[in-house]
């Protein structure tokens, strides 16, 4: 295995930037002989790759990278990496379109030219092996395994380039900070130490204290809330509610101005537990963060991983150049009369634990949670977001999935 410096920031030492301006984009698109329409999550994944969130990954992985990531949790170049980034396609579609190695493919999205793939390799990979290595299980009840088994029989590997820059739609536009932009903003603001908080939840005060605790623990200048915007399941909070409520905590002073920034990461959660924790750490390092907070059940699902598996994994990898703030739960203690840290509060028997699931359940019952548990401003905004973006519900419904506003829109382009 090649010895590399995994502590470099960005990961691998260079920030990937594969977004062309309109004139260059048109020229690049002209090289393409074959058009392939994309579904939404593919398009957003290309956005993350091309804007450098996944540096040093420049495209969809080839066989060597996939095999190395699955078996050794490293790219073929030697850099640590947790999750294969792949583009699956059927053998039939390859034949039908006449796709071959060496081609430049034009990806269209929303019927417009969007990106290209410089196709280096067409290959197969054992999906059961991929599932077992990445997720630690072959059970298709695991959503990441289910996704892996749903991959078609072939994969395309090669670098991607955005040739027609999409518009990020409101309300997400204000929170779109690609690594280059965010690094510049951090430098201008004078932030030298920034701790990342990964979320796919509307914040309750347990989350708020996790962030505040991480800020203390890392002696940070600021907290970067990195909201995962991607594939949703019925019953989840709608993306708009998650992003807007996190921002609201800053606007309403629960975090002082200049200490808190809300941003989005376009990514479909894989629920890969410890491996996804590694992936999250690298992505937030690429954004310019110096620390990343990891709590209980980070990126986990069901009982596939131990509650603190994402803590343990960092003992098994070299220095990633981003400090891990490993934290236990915050709970409500009626004796202390406050939300308090489980590692310090001695009232184990009296504590009243609460979770994101419980808060969702309370809101779903039409009940306003107490302000010590859920900020009233956050509650009001959750309900408002439901009315404005969720067809009357702050939770994902079939109607939301079918009719929601897209996160990105590709403008018309003549090629």
């Amino acid at each position: 295995m090649t010895e590399v410096n995994n502590a470099l920031s960005p990961h691998g030492g260079t920030l990937v930037d594969r977004v062309l301006g309109p004139a260059e984009g048109r020229e690049k698109a002209k090289q393409a002989r074959i058009k392939l329409p994309l579904e939404g999550s593919r398009a957003t994944e290309i956005m993350s790759i091309a804007h450098g969130f996944f540096s040093p990954v420049k495209g969809f992985m080839g066989h060597k990278d996939v095999d190395s990531v699955c078996k050794d949790m490293r790219l073929a170049s030697g850099y640590i990496w947790g999750i294969p980034i792949v583009f699956d396609i059927s053998e039939g579609e390859i034949k039908e379109k006449g796709i071959k190695e060496g081609d430049t493919l034009l990806f269209t999205y929303q019927d417009q030219p969007f990106a290209t793939l410089d196709l280096e390799e067409i290959f197969s990979y054992d999906r059961t092996l991929m599932a077992e290595k990445v997720y630690g299980t072959t059970e298709d009840k695991h959503p990441g395994v289910k996704r892996t088994y749903a991959y078609k029989d072939k994969f395309l590997g090669g670098d991607v380039t955005i040739i027609n820059q999409p518009k990020i739609n409101p309300p997400f536009d204000k929170y779109w900070y690609p690594p280059k932009v965010l690094r510049q903003k951090m430098a201008e603001t004078g932030w030298e130490r920034v701790v990342a908080h990964q979320t796919r939840n509307v914040p309750h005060t347990g989350h708020e204290w996790l962030m505040k605790g991480a800020w203390f623990a890392s002696n940070a200048d600021a907290i970067l809330v990195s909201c995962v915007v991607g594939e949703k399941r019925a019953g989840d909070y709608i993306d708009e509610a998650i992003v807007l409520t996190h921002d609201e905590l800053g606007k309403t002073g629960y975090f002082k101005e200049g200490t808190h920034l809300t941003s989005i990461l376009l990514w479909d959660m894989r629920y890969a537990g410890p491996r996804e924790a590694i992936f999250h750490a690298i992505v937030r390092k690429n954004l310019g963060c110096t620390h990343h907070m990891f709590g209980r059940d980070h990126a986990g699902v069901g009982s596939y991983y131990s509650p603190y598996a994402a803590h343990e994994i960092f003992e098994q990898v070299p220095d990633l150049g981003i400090g891990s703030v490993l934290t236990l739960e915050w709970w409500y203690c009626p004796v202390c009369g406050e939300v308090t840290y489980s590692g310090l509060c001695g009232h184990d028997k009296e504590q009243q634990g609460f979770s994101g699931t419980v808060i969702r359940s309370i809101i779903q019952d039409g009940v306003k949670p107490p302000r010590l548990i859920f900020r009233p401003e956050v509650f009001d905004l959750v309900m408002e977001a439901g009315d404005k973006y969720g067809f009357g519900s702050p939770f994902v419904t079939e109607e939301y999935l079918a009719k929601r506003n897209p996160v990105i829109s590709v403008p018309p382009m003549e090629v």
Partner: protein, 99 residues
């Protein structure tokens, strides 16, 4: 005693009033920070039947050890059965009434 898996019905003013009118206000328990809940017990078979009939519901095994995220109309029906029958032992009746 066999383990039970409660369905927590969260108590708002309207539900509290109904419980008080039925003389059942004592059934509501403190959940946290002043919020009250009505924990309606299920046994293992009932829990599994509820989760099967309502795939959006979730058994929170990590924190509260309770069934959460049942749709509101289902919870309303369970709550109404409790008030009507003046007992928390209503899950069989609830499941029987659910197609």
């Amino acid at each position: 005693m066999a383990e039970t898996y409660p369905i927590n019905i969260w108590i708002n003013e309207e539900r509290l009033e109904k419980l008080q009118q039925a003389g059942l206000a004592d059934m509501a328990q403190e959940a946290f920070a002043g919020l009250k809940k009505l924990p309606v017990p299920t046994n293992e078979q009932q829990r599994d039947a509820v989760l099967q009939k309502f795939p959006m519901a979730k058994y929170d095994s990590a924190t509260t050890k309770s069934i959460e995220l049942l749709p509101r109309d289902a919870k309303d029906r369970i709550f109404d059965l409790v008030v009507e029958k003046k007992t928390l032992d209503v899950i069989d009746a609830f499941l029987a009434s659910t197609i």
